[in-house]
C-alpha cells in the first residue's frame, strides 16, 4: 500500500475527474485529491457543459436522471439596453438527439455524481483497493526532484507517484509553484463570475421557458446586462431553477468602482429579466474568478518532467460571446493528459519529451484550435463598441421597427440609419463588422 502511484491528480473538478476516469478505465493506480469537503463543494459554474465528451466518460449518461439537469435545444443571444431586448433565437430538434451538444449542470451535484462514477470505475479496475479519491485534503506542494515531479505534500504527509496531473482550476497556485506560470497576472486578463440559482416550481419553470421533459434553454446577454462594465450575462434553465449570472472584467469593475452584486441586481430588475425570474426564490449565491480566455495569460508550457497541467489551471477557457466554454475544455484536456500518462507508463518513461505529447495533442485538438482561432472574438467582446454601443443601437432600431404609430412608417433602412447616428457611426460599425467577420 505504501508503494507509489502511477499518478496523483490534484483537484476533482471537471478536469481532474475526467483524467481520473480515464486512468481508472486504463487500469492505472492513482490518487485523486480534492481540497473541498466533497467533489463539487467548491465549484461554481454558470452551467452548460458543451460538446459530447461527457459521453466518452459516462456512456449513455442521458439514460440516467442523475448528475445533469437538462440538455440544451434552445439558444438565445440577447442584446439589451435599459428597457429593451433584441434577441437572436435558435431552437432546433436537431439538438434533441443524443449525444447532446450541451447539458446544463449544477456543479455541486454534477461533480459528486461524476466522482461516484469514477469510484465505480476504480472498483472495476485492478486497483480497486489501491486507487483513491480523497476529499477534504489540500495539496500544499508538488514535490520536485531535479526538476522532475515525484509526488505531493499535504501537511506533513508526502505521497509519491511517477507522475502528477495538476487540475487545480483557475486559482493555480501549484502551477506557479512548479514554475509554469508567472506569479503576476495582470487584472485586465481576469474576470469575475457571479451567479445566483433561483428556484421555481418545476411546472412554472417548464411553462415559462417552454421546456419539455429534459430540454433546456441557454441565454447569453450583451449590453445593459453588465451596466457599462465589460463582460456579459447568462441565464440557463436547470431542472427546477435557473442559473443567472454575469462575467465581468475585473479591471474595468475596479476602474468604474462598481460591485458585481449591484450589477447583478440591476440586471435582475431589467424588465425582460424580471419577467423571466419573478416568483422565484434565490437559493444559492456564489462568486468565482474566471479566466478571460486571453491566450496571453496561458502558461507557455503545460508540462514538465513527470507533470501535466490541465483545465482552467492552464487557463483553458473561452468566452467569445456566444457561450462560456471552460468545462468542456477542462474535460478534454483531462482526458488527453491521462492518455499521455497511460502511454508514458507503457513506455516506462515519464520524461519531458513524453509529457510534451500532451501539449502537442492538445494543440491539435479543437480546444487549442478554437482558442487560437477565436482570440480576436475574445478581444472583441471586451470592446466597448461591442458591449455598449451595439446593444443600444440594436435595441433602438428594434423599438422603431416594431412600433406601429398611426403615422407614416419609415423604411427599416432609414430607421437603422437614425439608430446608428444616435449611438455610434457607420465608420465605427464598419470597423466592428470587419473585426467581427474576421473574429467569428
Amino acid at each position: 500500500m505504501d508503494e507509489k502511484f502511477d499518478c496523483i491528480i490534484v483537484g476533482a473538478g471537471v478536469a481532474g475527474l475526467a483524467a481520473a476516469m480515464t486512468l481508472a478505465r486504463n487500469n492505472m493506480k492513482f490518487l485523486l485529491i480534492e481540497k473541498g469537503e466533497f467533489p463539487g463543494s467548491k465549484n461554481v459554474s454558470g452551467g452548460v457543459l458543451w460538446g459530447s465528451d461527457l459521453a466518452k466518460l459516462v456512456p449513455n449518461y442521458w439514460e440516467e436522471d442523475a448528475g445533469w439537469d437538462r440538455f440544451i435545444n434552445h439558444r438565445r443571444l440577447t442584446f439589451m439596453d435599459d428597457k429593451s431586448t433584441f434577441s437572436v433565437d435558435f431552437k432546433s430538434s436537431h439538438f434533441n438527439e443524443t449525444p447532446y451538444t450541451g447539458v446544463v449542470v449544477l456543479r455541486s451535484k454534477f461533480d459528486r455524481w461524476l466522482a461516484d462514477k469514477v469510484q465505480e470505475a476504480i472498483e472495476e479496475s485492478d486497483f480497486a483497493m489501491d486507487s483513491f479519491i480523497a476529499p477534504n485534503i489540500l495539496v500544499e506542494e508538488v514535490l520536485l526532484e531535479n526538476g522532475k515531479a515525484v509526488g505531493i505534500r499535504t501537511g506533513d504527509e508526502k505521497f509519491f507517484a511517477d507522475s502528477v496531473i495538476i487540475a487545480e482550476g483557475v486559482n493555480n497556485l501549484l502551477t506557479r509553484q512548479v514554475g509554469l506560470q508567472d506569479d503576476y497576472v495582470p487584472a485586465d486578463h481576469i474576470l469575475t463570475g457571479i451567479k445566483e440559482v433561483i428556484r421555481f416550481d418545476q411546472d412554472v419553470l417548464e411553462n415559462r421557458f417552454q421546456l419539455r421533459g429534459k430540454s433546456g434553454m441557454s441565454n447569453e446577454f450583451v449590453g445593459f446586462a453588465t451596466d457599462g462594465v465589460e463582460g456579459g450575462g447568462f441565464l440557463y434553465t436547470n431542472k427546477d431553477s435557473v442559473s443567472i449570472g454575469l462575467v465581468l472584467g475585473l479591471k474595468d469593475l475596479r476602474e468604474k468602482g462598481k460591485e458585481p452584486y449591484e450589477i447583478l441586481n440591476t440586471f435582475k430588475k431589467h424588465p425582460a429579466i424580471a419577467d423571466m425570474i419573478h416568483g422565484g426564490k434565490v437559493v444559492e449565491y456564489s462568486a468565482h474568478v474566471v479566466s478571460s480566455g486571453d491566450k496571453r495569460i496561458m502558461p507557455k508550457k503545460l508540462y514538465k518532467d513527470g507533470l501535466l497541467i490541465c483545465g482552467e489551471a492552464a487557463n483553458l477557457l473561452m468566452n467569445a460571446g456566444k457561450a462560456i466554454q471552460g468545462m468542456d475544455y477542462a474535460m478534454r484536456s483531462g482526458i488527453i493528459a491521462a492518455e499521455t500518462i497511460v502511454k508514458a507508463k507503457k513506455a516506462e518513461n515519464y520524461g519531458e519529451e513524453k509529457m510534451k505529447q500532451y501539449q502537442n495533442t492538445l494543440d491539435d485538438s479543437y480546444v487549442m484550435k478554437d482558442i487560437n482561432n477565436f482570440q480576436d472574438a475574445v478581444h472583441l467582446l471586451h470592446d466597448p463598441v461591442m458591449t455598449q454601443k451595439m446593444p443600444n443601437l440594436i435595441c433602438d432600431f428594434g423599438r422603431n421597427f416594431f412600433s406601429i404609430k398611426n403615422e407614416p412608417t419609415q423604411k427599416a433602412r432609414t430607421m437603422f440609419g437614425e439608430s446608428v447616428k444616435k449611438h455610434s457611426s457607420y465608420l465605427e460599425l464598419m470597423k466592428l463588422g470587419w473585426k467581427g467577420s474576421r473574429a467569428l
Binding site: R112, M129, F132, N136, T154, E157, F159
Partner: protein, 256 residues
C-alpha cells in the same frame, strides 16, 4: 478495551433543500456523518490512544451509508458493522434502538458511545433507549470524558450546570459536539480505511424485523417554517440608528 460507537448517516443540514407536496427533497443528496457521532468517534479514539483497545463503529442504514462508515474508519476506527436496511424503510429511534440492542445482545464491551442526537431529526432518543434495552447505566449530553482505571468520569451538560458523573463499565454515553473537535481524516487514514474490515449484516441476521407496528412514531409530512415577516436593515450613523431602534422597540414593538 472495546468501545463501540453508533454512527448515523444524515443529510447535511447545510445543503439546500426544498419541500414538495409534503416531501423533503435534498438538492444534492448530500449526506454526512452526524456531527455528534463524529465527536463520539473522536472521543473513542482519544481514549484508545491513551489506554489501548479497539474501536468499532456500528451503523444502520442503506447501502450508500458505506461512505459514512469509511469516513469513521478513515478517522481511525478499527472496524465496522453495517446493518443494512433498504432505502424505503423509515425506522424511528425506537426501531433503531431495538435493532442495535439485538446486535449488542451477545457482544462484550466496556463502553458504547452514541451521538447526543441526530442532526437531521434532533430526536436524541436512541442512546438512552439503547441503554435501557441493554440495562446499562448511561449518561447523555456528555461534554467531556476522562478514564482512570475502570472508572469513566463524564462531564454532562445539565440544566443548571455541568454534572460530573462516574460510570462503571459497561456503560453507554451520548456525546455532544461541545466535547471536542473531530479530526479530519488525513490521506493515510483515507487510504487505510479501504482495507479495514466492514461486516455487513441484515436485519434477518439479527433476528429483527422493522415492521409497521414496531415503528411507533412516523413522519406524516414536512412543512415550511412559517416565514418571518421580512425585517429592515439599518445602515449609517451608529448613534442615530441606535436611538431609532431603541425607540421602535419601545413604542412600536412594546418589548422594552
Amino acid at each position: 478495551m472495546k468501545i463501540y460507537v453508533c454512527i448515523k448517516q444524515v443529510p447535511d443540514v447545510n445543503a439546500p433543500l426544498q419541500i414538495k407536496d409534503g416531501e423533503l427533497i435534498q438538492d444534492a443528496d448530500r449526506n454526512i456523518l452526524n456531527a455528534y457521532d463524529a465527536s463520539a468517534v473522536e472521543e473513542s479514539l482519544v481514549l484508545k490512544e491513551a489506554h489501548g483497545g479497539e474501536i468499532e463503529v456500528v451503523l444502520i442504514g442503506p447501502e450508500k451509508a458505506k461512505e459514512t462508515i469509511r469516513k469513521a474508519l478513515a478517522m481511525g476506527a478499527d472496524k465496522a458493522t453495517h446493518i443494512l436496511i433498504d432505502n424505503d424503510t423509515a425506522p424511528d429511534s425506537y426501531s433503531f434502538a431495538s435493532t442495535l440492542s439485538a446486535f449488542f445482545k451477545d457482544k462484550e464491551y466496556e463502553y458504547i458511545f452514541c451521538g447526543k442526537q441526530a442532526q437531521d431529526t434532533d430526536a436524541g432518543l436512541t442512546g438512552s433507549m439503547l441503554a435501557e434495552f441493554l440495562n446499562l447505566p448511561y449518561t447523555t449530553n456528555a461534554v467531556g470524558l476522562n478514564l482512570e482505571g475502570n472508572v469513566l468520569t463524564v462531564k454532562r451538560q445539565g440544566d443548571g450546570g455541568q454534572e460530573i458523573i462516574e460510570l462503571p463499565s459497561p456503560a453507554l454515553v451520548t456525546c455532544s459536539n461541545d466535547m471536542n473537535e473531530p479530526r479530519i481524516p488525513n490521506l493515510k487514514g483515507i487510504m487505510q480505511s479501504k482495507r479495514k474490515p466492514v461486516e455487513t449484516l441484515s436485519l434477518a441476521d439479527l433476528g429483527v424485523e422493522i415492521s409497521e407496528d414496531q415503528i411507533k412514531t412516523r413522519i406524516l409530512s414536512f412543512e415550511e417554517k412559517p416565514a418571518r415577516k421580512p425585517g429592515k436593515k439599518y445602515e449609517g450613523e451608529p448613534d442615530e440608528i441606535a436611538r431609532e431602534i431603541a425607540q421602535l422597540l419601545d413604542t412600536k414593538e412594546n418589548v422594552i
